[in-house]
């Protein structure tokens, strides 16, 4: 039977109680929400069973999607199912809604959360690219107070976060998509659903008077963390989307990314298709909406 028979479970009723549990050595434990990553790793023995787990599933403070001070605020406990159907998300960060719709199947979408996807710190997090193009800021809480950290500084590396043992991801603050801008999400996996990506990415862009005035692009599964491509973004600003721009952006992207080969794909394909995704995003941006 389960590897977790001896593990203690604490279920706080409020965020404050959860933070107090985390602050005290005698009640501190591994945070568990959707369980779609952790339960697998524990059962398979990839991670040792913890002595104590703190169950934050269903905490109302983590479940909200709302606008606050001009930012789209998404609770860390919001599920992929809630994300993909939220009209606020569809309006302000459409590529995030699209990404949520490609996670697992209906069952995983009903369980898995945006906080867990980022908290797992996997390069294949389907949430990371769309959060990156929306300049997302992670809001972290502990009994010591609140910290707000931009996502690129929060995800430090493969399975490494800037998160203290007494801290918890509470919500993400996203810059809403500007009027007239567009977004898109593309995930390449070994199959059409239930796939861990070979490469995936999101962009947010805008064209004004025939020239690119905004372009943010992020790719996942091509580096130890999901990455923005600032060199490409800067090169594109002010350009018209013509054949030369498409070719240049594709080539530059393939030159910059340094993916690895693994069971899902080859380094060669990942490098090539990264450029192709950026080309596809530019074509999407140029197409009449």
């Amino acid at each position: 039977m389960s590897a977790l028979e001896q593990t203690e479970l604490l279920t706080p009723n409020t965020l404050d109680e959860a933070l107090r549990f985390l602050a005290d050595e005698n009640t501190r434990g591994t945070l568990l929400c959707g369980g779609t990553d952790l339960m697998v790793q524990w059962e398979a023995g990839v991670r040792p069973a913890p002595a104590r787990v703190i169950n934050i599933k269903g905490l109302t403070e983590l479940s909200e999607i709302k606008m606050e001070n001009g930012a789209l605020v998404i609770g860390a406990g919001v599920t992929h199912a809630a994300l993909r159907h939220s009209s606020l998300v569809i309006q302000c960060a459409p590529s995030l809604a699209e990404a949520a719709a490609t996670v697992g199947g209906a069952q995983i979408q009903a369980l898995g959360t945006i906080g867990g996807s980022i908290g797992n710190a996997s390069p294949a997090s389907d949430m990371a690219p769309s959060l990156l193009v929306a300049d997302a800021i992670a809001e972290l809480a502990s009994v010591r107070g609140i910290r707000k950290v931009p996502l690129p500084k929060f995800i430090l590396g493969y399975r490494k976060l800037d998160l203290a043992p007494d801290e918890l991801i509470v919500r993400f603050h996203l810059a809403p998509m500007p009027v007239g801008a567009k977004e898109n999400w593309h995930k390449l996996g070994p199959r059409a659903a239930q796939a861990i990506s070979k490469v995936m990415g999101s962009y947010r862009g805008k064209v004004e008077s025939g020239r690119i005035s905004l372009f943010a692009v992020a790719l996942g599964s091509v580096a130890p963390t999901a990455v923005r491509l600032p060199e490409i973004e800067q090169w594109l600003i002010g350009r018209a989307i013509d054949a030369e721009t498409l070719k240049g952006a594709e080539k530059r992207t393939s030159d910059i990314v340094k993916p690895i080969a693994d069971i899902r794909s080859t380094a060669e394909y990942r490098r090539w298709v990264s450029g192709r995704l950026v080309r596809g995003f530019l074509e999407h941006l140029a197409s009449p909406s």
């Binding site: 039977m1 697998v40 209906a106």
Partner: protein, 173 residues
């Protein structure tokens, strides 16, 4: 002893059960509550054989610590289908279509069908949406088409769905 007690509304009945809190919901259903209809396939959320409904939503019960399911939660396993009009209809449609060969995926597949068809008023019955609703359930012997079937069957399901919802609000016995 590391045990907790929970009372759930399981297949329409109040059930109280005691278990180690991090035991998987799948194991509590099968071993503590003797509901063997829910199957363990891959144990990692890929195959969907262990799908049950938690407050109306399809979830893989291998990925939920049973202690995470609070008192008063509504659970439905494949054994609960026969207590609802829509569930019985689905069962008959699966039989009619010959949807089950080895049958191992079928309890989970049925629950995915039921959750999708009984889930909302504006269910999208187009083929792509039906396929997506079943994409979390892997079948290795009969394929998938039989599980959401012909256009004619989707129409019938839609017509009978109102019945399902009526039944859901009154609750099964």
């Amino acid at each position: 002893m590391n045990k907790i007690v929970r009372t759930w509304k399981l297949n329409g009945e109040q059930r109280t059960v005691e278990f180690p809190p991090m035991r998987r919901l799948l194991d509590v259903l099968r071993d503590n509550l003797s509901l063997k209809g829910t199957k363990e396939g891959c144990s990692e959320g890929e195959c969907g054989a262990c799908t049950v409904l938690l407050n109306g939503k399809p979830v893989t019960s291998c990925l939920i610590a049973a202690g995470q399911v609070p008192d008063g939660a509504e659970l439905m396993t494949v054994e609960g289908l026969e207590h609802t009009e829509g569930g019985r209809l689905l069962q008959h449609q699966y039989i009619e279509k010959g949807a089950a060969q080895c049958g191992f995926c079928i309890p989970g597949m049925l629950m995915a069908s039921y959750a999708y068809l009984a889930g909302a008023d504006d269910v999208d019955l187009r083929e792509a949406a039906m396929r997506e609703a079943h994409a979390g359930n892997i079948c290795r012997c009969t394929g998938y088409e039989k599980n959401y079937g012909s256009r004619e069957r989707r129409r019938r399901t839609m017509a009978e769905r109102r019945e399902t919802r009526k039944n859901r609000t009154t609750g099964p016995r």
